[in-house]
């Protein structure tokens, strides 16, 4: 079964500083990968998803970006953090790659808590 790692677990950054959060997946190949943000401990907002290396789709306009340099690596970045970027960032993986996934379950990593001051 797949294992999802997220690094770091916790991060405190000043406003205007850059950001790089990493997600790596073990135990599967060619997964679909997703970045979510959870604000105030509640609802999840899908930020980006990727169906393959170098293929990124953005769901919400913002000052964040994502990249997938390797099959099982998904990175969330920002050049200049805003206060509103604070939150709990979750990476998720679905086992079947490509379109027309039929009922594939998303599995989540442990998350990164980001506090922007």
């Amino acid at each position: 079964s797949q294992t999802i790692h997220q690094w770091p677990a916790t991060l405190v950054q000043p406003v205007g500083s850059p950001l790089s959060l990493e997600c790596t997946v073990e135990g599967t190949s060619n997964p679909n990968l997703y970045w979510y943000r959870q604000a105030a401990g509640r609802g999840l907002q899908l930020l980006f998803y990727s169906v393959g290396i170098g293929q990124i789709s953005s769901e919400v306009p913002q000052n964040l970006s994502a990249s997938r340099p390797q099959d099982r690596q998904f990175i969330l970045s920002s050049k200049k953090l805003l206060l509103s970027d604070s939150g709990f960032y979750l990476c998720a993986c679905a086992l079947a790659g490509g379109p027309y996934m039929v009922g594939e379950t998303q599995y989540f990593g442990p998350g990164t808590r980001l506090l922007v001051l």
Binding site: Q6, R42, G43, L44, Y49, A94, A96, V102, F108, P110
Partner: protein, 116 residues
């Protein structure tokens, strides 16, 4: 557009009593429905899903959910709640008609508090 509603912000139940967490959905086609649980400062854990077939789905930790197409609901249930079931529960939906990439729409979450 697809959407998910969890009408209760919080559900309080005594240990040993039945637990129900409500979820209703709105999709343009046939729904794929999921339940997840989140403990404090942790990622989401998958509990169960409905894709097709039997309307009653059994999942992890003694949870089950019933798909009701006429009421567009997918309520999560557990016959006898444990204190350790206290957590945040999320319902999620995927509409295969409008989404080819496995994107899920999550509800706002329901906090379950089980008292001893």
């Amino acid at each position: 557009a697809q959407s998910v509603a969890q009408p209760e912000d919080q559900v309080n139940v005594a240990e040993g009593n039945p637990l129900t967490v409500k979820c209703t959905y709105s999709v343009s086609g046939n729904p794929y429905l999921f339940w997840y649980v989140q403990y404090p400062n942790r990622g989401l854990q998958f509990l169960l899903k409905y894709i097709t077939g039997d309307n009653l789905v059994k999942g992890s930790y003694g949870f089950e959910a019933e798909f009701n197409k006429s009421q567009t609901s997918f309520h999560l249930k557990k016959p006898s709640a444990l204190v350790s079931d206290s957590a945040l529960y999320f319902c999620a939906v995927r509409d295969l008609v409008t989404d080819s990439w496995g994107k899920l729409q999550f509800g706002a979450g329901t906090q379950v508090v089980v008292t001893p």
